[in-house]
Point group: C2
Chain length 205, copies 2
């Protein structure tokens, strides 16, 4: 089993963290034990998910974000079946963050393109509304970067970060992502306001 | 029938062209009669395509580009069935350029994203190897911009223009597309050289 254990410091600059890598035995059982900022005794685990049995715990996380329509380019009235099919698309590897068996977040990772673009990874992350502010997105991003490197990806790209999602932009920047593109008025908020979207990119080499 | 007739001038600055719009009757039968530079008496027609009967004339156009692996992020060994399925994906509208019943090129248009990003169009164009240098890509781009406007799109975006494809970059720029993003080393050429890809964007408003 590949186990990655991270201890994030409580210091304001959360980019600094210690990492210990344990011997890799099973690529499928990637797991992260994560000590969040507010409760040193609590541990988050990240493990690979599948539609069965994980859909029941993932849909309550996807649904609020889809219904809000503020960050993902998905129809706000998307059905559960369509959302689960999207999240578990054939090329996606899906992971969930759990703490005491409660699911706090989920992310997918995929090659951003085929052919000559298959060396760049792409991810989507969603944190449960009941778990915001606890470092769940940070834990998922850290995990995804490790996993992308382990799979041999040379870079990671986020194709469409809504510019008003400043918390996400700042988080990705704290992980070394740079804004390499700005798409003018490319996203229509539920308020019908058109705002820019950002393309963010970081090398894994 | 929506008919769009364009006469491109032979002048070096080919951005200038006269346009006459005829009354729109049938959205499905969008057609363009295009007088190319080298033969004023020849007319290219652009019409909507479907897998049956157009796959037989489209595959010989897709295959050389896919096998070359220099411009599209598709596997170089992609099968005919997979390529046709990709080109005629559910959200794609596909068009072909024909002259004297010979197919010279094909393009698709789709919403670049769902939800809050569905107002931006995305296209892919491929010219037949036997028809390069005759303004086929220019005719397709002009047609796609008109069609995108007619469908209500507010902008068009090309997500991944390989930076070494300078002819395409210059052509899209001549249509008003701007480079709004540069993806470092995002494309691996068949020579194993990593080159940048460009994100190009233009408003339709």
């Amino acid at each position: 089993m590949e186990a990655i254990r991270k201890s994030l410091t409580n210091a304001p600059n959360r980019r600094k963290y210690a990492r210990r890598d344990f011997p890799r035995e099973d690529q499928a059982a990637v797991e992260i034990d994560y000590l969040p900022r507010r409760c040193e005794s609590t541990v988050m685990h990240i493990h690979q998910a599948s539609p069965n049995p994980d859909s029941d715990s993932i849909w309550p996380i996807l649904e609020p974000t889809i219904r809000a329509g503020e960050t993902y380019t998905l129809p706000m009235d998307m059905s559960r079946a369509d959302a689960i099919a999207y999240w578990f698309a054939a090329q996606h590897e899906v992971f969930v963050v759990q703490e005491n068996k409660q699911t706090l977040g989920t992310y997918f990772i995929q090659p951003n393109h085929q052919g000559g673009g298959a060396h760049v990874a792409n991810c989507g992350y969603i944190t449960a509304p009941w778990a915001t502010g606890r470092g769940v997105a940070r834990a998922m991003c850290a995990h995804s970067l490790e996993h992308a490197r382990a799979r041999g990806f040379r870079a990671m790209q986020f194709n469409f970060v809504v510019s008003t999602n400043q918390r996400a932009v700042a988080l990705w920047q704290s992980f070394g992502f740079e804004i390499v593109g700005r798409l003018p008025s490319a996203f229509c908020l539920p308020t019908k306001e058109f705002v820019d979207a950002l393309v963010m990119y970081r090398s894994l080499m």
